[in-house]
């Protein structure tokens, strides 16, 4: 098997040339669309700051940078050329960044690496600009696509996926402090699963109308998206357990290890745990007690089992695809790299 361009996800040695090439193409397209929209250069500059396209050094460890290759990879795996999915990739990236910004307004903090002001009004305005940048890209895709009817179908499915993602966000906002393990999975499937499913299926749909094949790419992206959510939870847990930062009350109580532990404990054990959580919001002194209780509940095994589930489901989704090529190998490698952690 020829080595794919990707090595392990998060591996500092991963080549960035694919991302750089894509960003260069997207920058040309997006700058042209902004100029054609006749918006001021000042506003264009604000939008440009929020996108990672024009940075002098591309940080390949940024998740949005890496995953933007998915539409092109799926297009290539389905028998096409990566660049045929550029408009889809660009729209998906713009939506991704916009959603990220809106999440930041909800969480009241600016994520690392986003060059935008902390003013919520400004952030929402930038997010809106990026949403419509995405729409400009999709409009341009349709105008250039050889099959208008099928092109419209691709866009319709794209929008449906995003609407479901919005529904996930609605459930997340509404759940507040009354989250449950069940709602965690429901929200993850809508927010992350469907978002990545949209990227993968839309990319493949640029060159394929085979519904069976497209379903495979959908399932691959869906399970990859949920897996990504679980891994994000692990990173957040590390920050909680190993740093002096006080976790924000709502996000901490909605984290996967905490929700799992609250679900499985009963009676006095449950009451004790909830008391510890309540105390933790006031001070960090009982952090070790919470970590111990979470460990004793079997959270590590539960999360490893779920990582196993979504990895295997993502790999299984690719099995029916007959086309064996570098892109398909890369998709497989993406998942295997996530599992290949020595414990």
């Amino acid at each position: 098997m020829i080595s794919p361009h990707f090595t392990l996800v998060g591996d500092k040695a991963t080549k960035s040339s694919d991302i750089e090439d894509l960003f260069s193409r997207l920058l040309t397209i997006i700058e042209y669309l902004w100029k054609r929209s006749d918006v001021s250069s000042e506003f264009q500059n604000c939008l440009r700051q929020a996108l990672p396209l024009n940075k002098t050094k591309i940080d390949i460890d940024k998740s949005s940078n890496r995953w933007v290759l998915l539409p092109g990879l799926c297009c290539s795996a389905a028998g096409g050329i990566n660049s045929e999915a550029d408009y889809i990739a660009g729209a998906w990236l713009a939506f991704y960044i916009a959603a990220h910004i809106m999440d930041s307004v909800q969480d009241k903090h600016i994520p690392e690496g986003l060059d935008i002001s902390k003013d919520p009004s400004h952030m929402l305005n930038i997010a809106s600009g990026l949403f419509f940048t995405a729409e400009l890209l999709l409009d341009e895709f349709i105008s250039k696509y050889h099959n208008q009817v099928w092109g419209a179908e691709i866009i319709r499915n794209f929008h449906t996926g995003l609407m479901n993602m919005c529904q996930g966000q609605y459930l997340d906002v509404r759940s507040g402090v009354d989250s449950s393990l069940q709602s965690f999975w429901q929200i993850s499937k809508l927010k992350s699963g469907m978002f990545f499913a949209t990227a993968c299926k839309s990319g493949a749909a640029v060159v394929s109308q085979d519904e069976g094949q497209l379903a495979c790419y959908y399932q691959f992206g869906y399970n990859l998206g949920i897996l990504i959510q679980v891994l994000d939870e692990l990173e957040d847990w590390y920050k909680f357990s190993e740093t002096d930062k006080r976790a924000s009350g709502n996000s901490f109580n909605k984290s996967l290890p905490i929700l799992y532990t609250k679900t499985v404990l009963q009676g006095d054990h449950k009451n004790d745990f909830e008391q510890e959580l309540s105390n933790f919001c006031q001070s960090l002194d009982n952090r070790d007690d919470i970590v111990r209780m979470v460990d004793q509940s079997g959270a590590a095994l539960y999360i490893l089992t779920e990582i196993e589930r979504y990895s295997q489901l993502a790999l299984k989704a690719l099995e029916p695809l007959i086309e064996k090529n570098l892109a398909k190998s890369t998709l497989v490698f993406l998942i295997e790299g996530l599992l290949d952690k020595n414990i």
Binding site: V9, G10, D61, K62, S63, R66, L181, Q182, L231, D232, L234, E235, W237, Y238, S241, E242, P257, Y260, T263, V264, L265, V291, V294, D295, Q296, S297, G298, A299, A300, L301, Y302, I303, L304, T305, E306, I307, E308, R309, Q312, L338, K341, N342, I343
Partner: protein, 71 residues
Amino acid sequence: MTLAQVVYHLSNDSDFATQMRTDPETALAEKGLTISKEEQAFLSNGLTRSTRADGSKISMNDIASLYVGWR
């Protein structure tokens, strides 16, 4: 959230854990729990990955530290 309950019992009930290795159907039935064969396979792989060579169990911090900066 049956899988979660199964994991909890596996982690806190040594008799259940032993029986799950030899007769998972009976072990689950006696607890009134049902998980699919597919979930049993995921759980089995999860158990393998969560157990060190010396038989000790890994912690949440152990797994979390592997995925720091994974993005």
